[in-house]
Symmetry: C2
Subunit: 304 residues, 2 copies
DNA sequence: TCCATTCTCTGACTTTAGTCAGAGGAATGT
DNA sequence: ACATTCCTCTGACTAAAGTCAGAGAATGGA
């Protein structure tokens, strides 16, 4: 399999690398072209450009100035924060960016051109599949302090989604607690999934004194659904639970959350009688962990 | 569709680009690492390295010397040609190359690691498909003088294959002619398909004075079968024929060539009575070209 | 209010990647 | 045998890519 990945890598970089040379075929350097592209029609904060292109601030500043000198870009103070500067494309810059865009289109078209109609369809289908799974594999799952901004943003999104999907909304204060204290080791654990450092999902476990624990806060952002992320979060939580000598995992859920219910059943949770009085719950599930099959947890730990 | 190709491009270069950084993570420069890799365990002629890495001779020479100075490589006269020099890896060089290999393996594995077993299978399947079709799209079909070395090598391979597959072998002199004269415009046309400048297939058409022409010399190298190349060559020949006011295409073939027969039928050739006395033919086919659907020929012309 | 931090820019660097012209030795065709 | 071509190497360049330390302005928190 690894061999296959490497072979794919070789073929694709060869063919697609040629495609990227469209960027080089202008009289700008690659760095300038990438920057021109990344600024985009709406403009972009310099700090954002720096992180997106992963460039040293001195170097970026210099690139930006060379574009400014050529009249493609203007840089001005950002409205909200006086330290931040925002780059905008001039008309001239927009024209040149449009040319890059057209060249990239042509290059992409030249990949499809030699193929038959049927082959094109097959290629696009396979490309979509590869892309989907590469994105899935890019998602990073890390243990995260619930006070971290990424964690907070996930929990906020989670609550907001519940309040939309539940009949009659959702009020966290009426629900059984899983506060920051309870989701911080050793009391519990919160995992956050991120894609390109944007938080896109979470899941938590709340340990009890006996060998039991509860799964809480399972949420996956709409943009990354269908990538198996829920299953992955759940599996990682189980690994952590097993490492903490947990034998039984329990959870409750609402009938509106049908994908979640399907997931729980699919990975071995079975319905049990209500084990608490959570007002928003319609179903209660339980799973006994099989410690023999539990692999060692190997999650990178994000700085708290 | 073009949009999809570009999106694939973006995702893949991001994810696979990171994989390629395994090469950069050594303390060698990218150029040195690529060279070290390309020399390989068996060693390699310098001229071959130059063409494979597409490097300027001065630059390559310099890179090679830096590796030599570090004791990774030795360069010596090639046995057969005193002008050519051959690079070999020393033990030290082999060790360092093995490290690059291991890093690339690790990087490839890190793409599979976050995925479930099922997702891995899906990814590999889709990767194989993308790769197959990208290779198909990389094949270049060009009109070629039959005296060109590439053309000669294809025709030689074609005859050799016929002599293996036909019962009782194949003797070109007994067969109806399609010599170099007859396959050179305006008498006829030979198309050669190449992959990374290696000839991998051919197909020819021999024009007659009436609006008829014959398809000859259809051959696809075993390494690139299943990529739709035969169909593409045939379609391109038809386009050229139509551009030369040909209305009817004819061809004869041997019963041993079952893939070819299948292809001819699939693209609209129907069997007719023997129209010549080719001793090696078992079937005769004919197709009437529909000029309305013939697109303009857009083949790049290789220098003759 | 003050101090630490953030953000951008500048000058002074280095390394990498690459080009170009030409030299010198070896092979090839006539 | 001789001119031509091929292959490699060298010196002298250039451009791109990037690093580093620090300056100056703005912001945020104690």
């Amino acid at each position: 399999m690894i061999d296959r990945v490497r072979r794919f890598n070789r073929t694709v970089t060869q063919r697609i690398g040629a495609l990227n040379d469209a960027f080089l075929s202008s009289d700008r350097s690659l760095g300038q072209a990438r920057l021109l592209w990344e600024i985009g029609p709406q403009g972009c904060d310099v700090r954002l450009l720096r992180s997106r292109l992963d460039l040293n601030s001195g170097y970026l500043s210099r690139l930006l100035r060379s574009l400014k000198d050529d009249g493609l870009v203007v840089v001005e103070q950002s409205g909200t924060d006086g330290r931040v500067r925002t780059a905008h494309l001039t008309d001239h810059g927009l024209t040149e960016r449009a040319m890059l865009d057209r060249r990239s289109d042509d290059a992409a078209a030249s990949i499809l051109a030699p193929l038959s109609v049927r082959q094109r369809t097959q290629l696009i289908t396979a490309m979509i599949e590869v892309e989907r799974l590469l994105v899935a594999s890019t998602v990073l799952v890390t243990a995260c302090n619930p006070r971290h901004p990424d964690a907070r943003s996930c929990l906020r999104a989670y609550f907001s989604e519940l309040s939309h999907r539940f009949d009659g909304g959702f009020d966290p204060t009426r629900s059984i607690s899983a506060d920051e204290e309870e989701l911080t080791p050793p009391a519990g654990l919160l995992l956050v999934a991120s894609l390109h450092s944007e938080p896109v999902g979470c899941g938590a476990v709340k340990f009890h004194d006996d060998a039991r624990a509860e799964i809480k806060r399972m949420w996956v952002a709409p943009t990354v659904r269908g990538l198996g992320l829920g299953r992955r979060l759940l599996a990682d939580l189980e690994v952590h639970a097993a490492a903490n000598r947990i034998r039984t995992l329990r959870l409750e859920t609402n009938r509106a959350l049908d994908e979640a219910i399907g997931l729980y059943r699919a990975v071995g949770y079975h319905e049990v009688l209500a084990f608490n009085d959570e007002p928003y719950a319609d179903y209660w599930f339980e799973k006994t962990l099989d410690r023999s099959t539990a692999p060692a947890p190997n999650l990178p730990d994000r700085e708290h």
